[in-house]
């Protein structure tokens, strides 16, 4: 832990500066220009080609499909012949009315807070590491790099958890099929919501974390 904090930067030698290329999956070092890692077989790239373009493309796709996910119903509940439609937010609000504050919070966090927070975090990281953007030059101290790294780790870890809401809909639809008394069916928003989660996961996977640390050169 302690050795990681000695962040004076100047003495760090990266594989790229040394004319080498490090494997992004197993860390093995090869001479620049080697096509594949000899240890794990992954394609070697000093930096992922077109990383930021891919991040922006997936992020944009994720945001676009997130809009219908919030407009259209996620759940169709039929009780004694009457059908009610629940959107994502509507479902959370209804849970709150029933007094299930804890579960309402989980649903709200997983399907609103995490997706929106992820859009913002990925967009921020993609802007800030891009040397061509104006935000790129605003690095004040080495500690910022650790902060950006932590943000990326959080985004990477937490993104998949948004899928909870889709699974809840699947379970409810399978379980609540009590003919006349009550049936629950999935709404079309379940599809666009799952797509949104998948696209933002792909955006995070396309991001090359080494770009975060390349900004360190601007400090000197």
């Amino acid at each position: 832990m302690t050795s990681a904090q000695g962040n004076d930067g100047a003495q760090v030698l990266t594989a790229r500066q040394a004319g080498l290329v490090g494997c992004h999956s197993c860390g093995r070092v090869h001479p620049m220009g080697t096509p594949r890692c000899s240890r794990c077989g992954a394609a070697l790239h000093s930096r992922m080609p077109g990383s930021l373009q891919k991040v922006w493309a997936w992020l944009f796709a994720g945001i676009v499909v997130y809009v219908p996910a919030n407009i259209y119903p996620m759940l169709l509940t039929t009780s004694f012949g009457a059908t009610t439609e629940n959107t994502i937010m509507g479902g959370a609000v209804e849970l709150m009315h029933h007094g299930s504050y804890g579960v309402a919070l989980i649903v709200f966090v997983a399907s609103v807070l995490i997706p929106v927070g992820k859009f913002l975090a990925i967009g921020y990281l993609a802007l800030v590491v891009d040397p061509g953007s104006r935000l790129g030059g605003r690095l004040r101290q080495g500690q910022d790099l650790h902060r950006r790294q932590r943000l990326f780790e959080v985004v990477e870890f937490i993104g998949r958890w948004s899928m909870i809401d889709v699974f809840v809909v699947a379970i409810l639809s399978a379980l609540v099929q009590l003919d006349f008394a009550a049936t629950i069916n999935p709404g079309i928003a379940a599809v666009s919501f799952s797509l949104s989660v998948a696209f933002t996961m792909l955006a995070a996977l396309s991001f090359d974390p080494r770009l975060i640390w390349d900004a360190e050169q601007d400090l000197h």
Binding site: M1, T2, S3, A4, Q5, Q11, V12, T14, A15, R16, A18, V21, C23, H24, S25, C26, G27, R28, V29, H30, S38, R39, C40, G41, S46, L95, H98, V103, I106, V107, L145, H146, Q149, E156, G159, R160, W161, M163, I164, F167, V168, A170, I171, L172, A174, L175, V176, L178, A181, N185, P186, A190, V191, S194, A198, M201, P209, R210, W213, D214
Partner: protein, 224 residues
């Protein structure tokens, strides 16, 4: 935790320009910083000197443990798919649902693609990931040479990691149970507990797995 975790700094040595033999070095996958690749004792952790990412955290007997946990998880998965998962009763009607029913919930019309997605995320991909871990690591746990496609299998397991969502599904089940609690009486079937155990085993497995050690062992056990 224990004292060894904080003292070991094995690959943390900075590398100056000069003496750059790639086989003695390791580049941090997160920040590209070069460091000397020194052996790390079991139980210790080696962090990148620049970004602090854990590079290696080998454990005593980890290979055997990972293989046993993966085998357990596979057996649990088979049981979880076929036994009744949840049971709902209201007004004299009882509905039992298995994991497969939850998967097939989206099987109507426009939602059909979602059926495949849910099946993949909670059953197919976790099973595939466990199977490829078993295939890649079992020969090494036994001290044999690596399997013919061991490297490709472990690469697949790594690529599947974000997409195998069994543990997220189980939290989804908990949320769903609260949602229907007012509507009907609920019973939890044996498959639910199997699946919960499966999630626990998978999480344990992931904490035992030091990726870099696995890659290095795969490299060392290359067929002659």
């Amino acid at each position: 935790m224990n004292q060894t975790t904080s003292t070991a700094q094995a690959p943390g040595d900075r590398v100056g320009p000069g003496g750059l033999d790639p086989s003695l070095l390791i580049a941090c996958p997160t920040c590209d910083a070069l460091q000397l690749d020194r052996p790390v004792p079991a139980g210790a952790r080696a962090r990148c000197h620049r970004c602090g990412t854990i590079l290696m955290a080998p454990r005593e007997g980890a290979m055997t443990r990972i293989v046993m946990l993966a085998a357990t998880a596979l057996v649990l998965m088979v049981a979880a798919v076929f036994f009744p998962f949840l049971e709902l009763s209201a007004g004299g009607m009882v509905r039992r649902s298995s994991l497969l029913d939850a998967v097939l919930a989206f099987s109507s019309g426009l939602l059909l693609p979602l059926t495949f997605a849910v099946a993949a995320l909670i059953i197919v991909l976790p099973v595939l990931r466990l199977a490829s871990i078993l295939y890649a690591l079992a020969p090494m746990a036994l001290g044999w040479h690596r399997a013919r496609h061991g490297v490709a299998a472990f690469r697949l397991a790594e690529a599947l990691r974000p997409w195998a969502m069994a543990e997220i599904f189980i939290v989804g089940v908990a949320v769903a149970l609260v949602k229907v609690a007012g509507l009907a009486r609920l019973g939890i079937g044996p498959a639910f507990w199997t699946f919960a155990a499966l999630v626990l085993v998978t999480v344990l497995n992931d904490t035992y797995m030091c990726r870099l050690t696995v890659w290095k062992t795969l490299e060392e056990r290359r067929r002659p």
